[in-house]
């Protein structure tokens, strides 16, 4: 099996699985309980929080556990805005941001969606122009999930804070945490979203970094867990698994990135042997190494995806799953100015350090076999 869908989710690390199992087996007590068993569970929580904090070079108390990246995004955005305020975001954010912003627009909040260039990157100057007196929040993703474009988050945060310190900056780092360096001493953002299952941790767990002294409303009220901001009995197995995953990602960040970068440039090199191919996420400074978005001309991405399944190669399409499926219609690829044909034929290969060069050779061989046939028989 060749798994090239690591931006959708990653395979949990063995140590993570062992930790999750151990927590379910032994540390099932409620960390709020007064007895010894509860305190042991609480220790697991503390350790994990330290690991996640270390991943982004933050203080432990600045990390709040959530059910995942979507919740972290929702909590960050809805927790800091006021009625009648103005929000700046981009056209290529994750649906958990875009859909929420659309809801807020219906409630009378104004949102500016910044354009991106053909690389998928916003223009700092345009951001500067968009800032208004009532701008309350700038929410931008660090790395785009479909094309892997990297936003200049350090630069943009500095700019926003330089204009008005009271504007909150939220960075959706779901696709970048554990892959690019995130240093909260250098990054002046107030809020940062992270998800565990994108870095070989368990699903259903994530975190929101909240800078000290940031005013944010609680997302779920109840028993007062997570500093009164996110109530609900803590998901100890998930959190502890996340901790292990974060610790390993942090420790191995450079090695992993190096390996994945080699895979991407090798893949691009081999793709040049095929005709009718367009690379939508080059191996350059503006794109992460773990995402390779490619358009295959004269083929529907979905059909190619299913054809690759026969070789047990698993990828994602860049475009809508089906012509009838307007609900999930893609907005990222049009935003970088791709032509209809390149949108329809887009495939996303996303790598992890667990992938090998030989797997790319197999994928290229499969593509060489399938493309001529699928191009002759176009569905």
């Amino acid at each position: 099996m060749i798994y090239f869908d690591n931006s959708a989710t990653t395979k949990p690390d063995r140590e993570v699985i062992a930790e999750v199992a151990e927590c379910m087996e032994l540390y099932y007590a409620n960390p709020s309980s007064a007895h010894k068993l509860g305190i042991e569970a609480e220790k697991k929580l503390k350790t994990a929080r330290a690991h996640v904090a270390a991943l982004v070079n933050a203080a432990e108390q600045e990390i709040i556990f959530t059910s995942g990246g979507s919740e972290a995004n929702n909590m960050a955005i809805s927790g800091v805005i006021d009625e009648g305020c103005h929000i700046i975001s981009s056209k290529i954010e994750h649906p958990s941001t875009i859909k929420l912003l659309q809801l807020l627009e219906k409630k009378g909040i104004e949102v500016t969606y910044l354009d991106v260039d053909s690389a998928g990157v916003i223009c700092i100057e345009e951001l500067k122009q968009a800032i208004k007196d009532n701008t309350r929040l700038v929410t931008i993703m660090h790395v785009n999930n479909e094309i892997g474009s990297i936003q200049p988050v350090y630069e943009l945060t500095k700019l926003v804070k330089g204009i008005n310190r009271r504007i909150k900056v939220h960075i959706d780092a779901v696709q970048s945490a554990g892959k690019l360096e995130l240093d909260m001493n250098k990054l002046e953002a107030d809020l940062v979203s992270i998800s565990a299952h994108k870095l070989h941790g368990p699903k259903g767990i994530g975190a929101l970094y909240i800078r000290k002294n940031t005013n944010i409303r609680p997302f779920i009220v109840g028993g007062g867990q997570e500093g009164n901001l996110r109530s609900g009995t803590e998901n100890i197995p998930g959190i502890a698994g996340f901790g292990i995953a974060a610790q390993k990602a942090h420790r191995e960040l450079r090695d992993r990135t190096e390996k994945v970068a080699l895979l991407k440039s090798y893949f691009i090199e081999r793709l040049s042997e095929l005709e009718g191919v367009r690379i939508n996420s080059l191996a350059d400074q503006q794109h992460v190494p773990h995402i390779l978005n490619v358009s295959f001309e004269r083929v529907r991405g979905e059909v190619l995806l299913h054809a690759l399944e026969d070789y047990r190669i698993y990828v994602s399409t860049g475009s809508a799953c089906s012509s009838k499926d307007t609900k999930h219609s893609n907005y990222v690829l049009p935003a970088i100015g791709l032509k209809e044909e390149h949108i329809k034929g887009a495939i996303r290969f996303s790598f992890a350090f667990t992938n090998e060069k030989e797997e790319i050779d197999t994928a290229i061989a499969a593509l060489k076999e399938q493309l001529p046939f699928l191009r002759r028989m176009r569905g």
Binding site: E302, V303, L305, H306, C321, S322, K324, D325, L374, G379
Partner: protein, 395 residues
């Protein structure tokens, strides 16, 4: 008698009273056969451990639960299911139970009593029983009135081997017992219509075998899962359904290569019918069932159906032929297939669609086009490679 003692002690006894299609009771010498099939279907759905007691025109089960009742209400052939109280066969017995049951319904203000007297030895006629029990009710519950035309509640009394009183009746799906009228092969596409067509034939007693055409890699595993899910939803009414998933890509490829673009759909439909017929033959079925409705799409014009129907030996039933789309959608919602049907996955019919399909194909032309392909070989190969999946409701 134990029963009388229990009743005398004031202990309530209830059983599920099942009414089934009067059509069955009119079957003369074959009546036993239909009833036996119905009993078998009932046991199949609620578990063999339940005893089903038969009495002329009624069936009884001694376990009373609303979960059981709602499962029974989905068994074809059953008209209604009621939690009936078993009472002493006397006006006092009927009245006491009726009063007790009506007292549980303080929201109603009008009622009527309906009596069926199957036990002709009982010394009173049904009208008189109704009148006297009604009188007792009026005497004992204040504020209630009789309304024979539009009552809010009907008190049913049945005088049979035992006496029964019930006020709530769960309407069943009706029809004839499943598997009492042979077996047919249903062409399931994943759309709204075909599950409804299958439902309608199954409701008349026909056992269904499903056939679905899978065009990997042009259609996804999800499209296949969707059709399995539709079969599963139908199996709420029928019990387990066998579904053949037929690999269809090769046939579609050959058609693409050898036939004119505007004939793609019609030639493909002919193949679908012919493969289904081959599967039907192997599966001892005697007909095909489709969800076609006259004029709905290009392949459902009279001319198209004439062409797809020619060269088949088996009859093709199209129970939706005269129905409007909205009416079909209503049934789909009622039988709970609608939400699944509208999931947006491509099926084999929507993948290769000519821009302008022929709406008035000529049989001889299409026959000539299809003859460019090795028809028999392709049909046999598709049928040979069909994958059998059993769809049933998970409990």
């Amino acid at each position: 008698m134990v029963l009388c003692k229990l009743l005398g002690m004031g202990i309530q006894m209830k059983r599920l009273l099942i009414k089934y299609a009067s059509e069955i009771t009119l079957k003369g010498l074959n009546r036993r056969m239909f009833e036996d099939i119905l009993v078998r279907n009932i046991k199949d759905r609620i578990g063999k451990e339940h005893r089903v007691e038969k009495e002329s025109g009624r069936m009884y089960i001694d376990t009373v639960s609303s979960e059981l009742a709602s499962r029974l209400a989905k068994v074809f052939g059953i008209i209604s299911v009621a939690e009936a109280e078993v009472v002493e066969k006397s006006i006092e017995g009927f009245a006491a139970a009726a009063i007790e049951q009506l007292k549980q319904k303080p929201q109603i203000s009008t009622f009527k009593v309906e009596t069926k007297r199957a036990d002709k030895k009982f010394p009173m006629e049904s009208m008189e029983i109704s009148r006297r029990v009604g009188g007792e009710i009026l005497k004992n519950i204040e504020g209630l009135k009789v309304d024979v035309h539009k009552p809010q509640c009907v008190v049913n009394i049945e005088v049979r081997d035992k006496g029964y009183v019930y006020t709530d009746e769960l309407k069943g799906v009706g029809g004839m017992p499943y598997k009492s009228s042979g077996r047919g092969v249903l062409l399931l596409s994943g759309g709204i219509d075909s599950p409804v067509a299958g439902y309608m034939m199954a409701r008349r007693g026909m056992e269904l075998t499903g056939v679905y055409y899978h065009s990997h890699p042009y259609t996804s595993e999800r499209a296949k899962e969707k059709v399995i899910e539709l079969a599963r939803k139908l199996s709420q009414f029928t019990g387990r359904i066998r579904l053949f998933v037929v690999p269809f890509t090769r046939i579609q490829m050959e058609i693409m290569e050898k036939c004119r673009e505007d004939e793609l759909t019609i030639v493909m439909r002919r193949f679908m019918m012919q493969v289904a017929e081959e599967i039907a033959r192997r599966d001892n079925a005697m007909c095909l069932i489709t969800g076609e409705s006259l004029g709905q799409v290009a392949s459902q014009t009279l001319e198209s159906m004439f062409v797809t129907n020619s060269d088949l030996a088996m009859p093709v039933f199209r129970p939706l032929i005269g129905m409007d789309k909205v009416d079909i959608m209503d049934i789909a919602r009622r039988i709970d297939t609608y939400e699944t049907s509208i999931l947006p996955y491509e099926d084999c019919c929507t993948v290769f669609v000519p821009k302008h399909p022929k709406t008035r194909p000529k049989l001889e032309e299409i026959r000539r086009s299809a003859a460019l392909l090795s028809v028999n070989e392709l049909i046999l190969e598709a049928a040979d490679n069909a994958e059998l999946i059993v769809a049933e409701i998970l409990e």
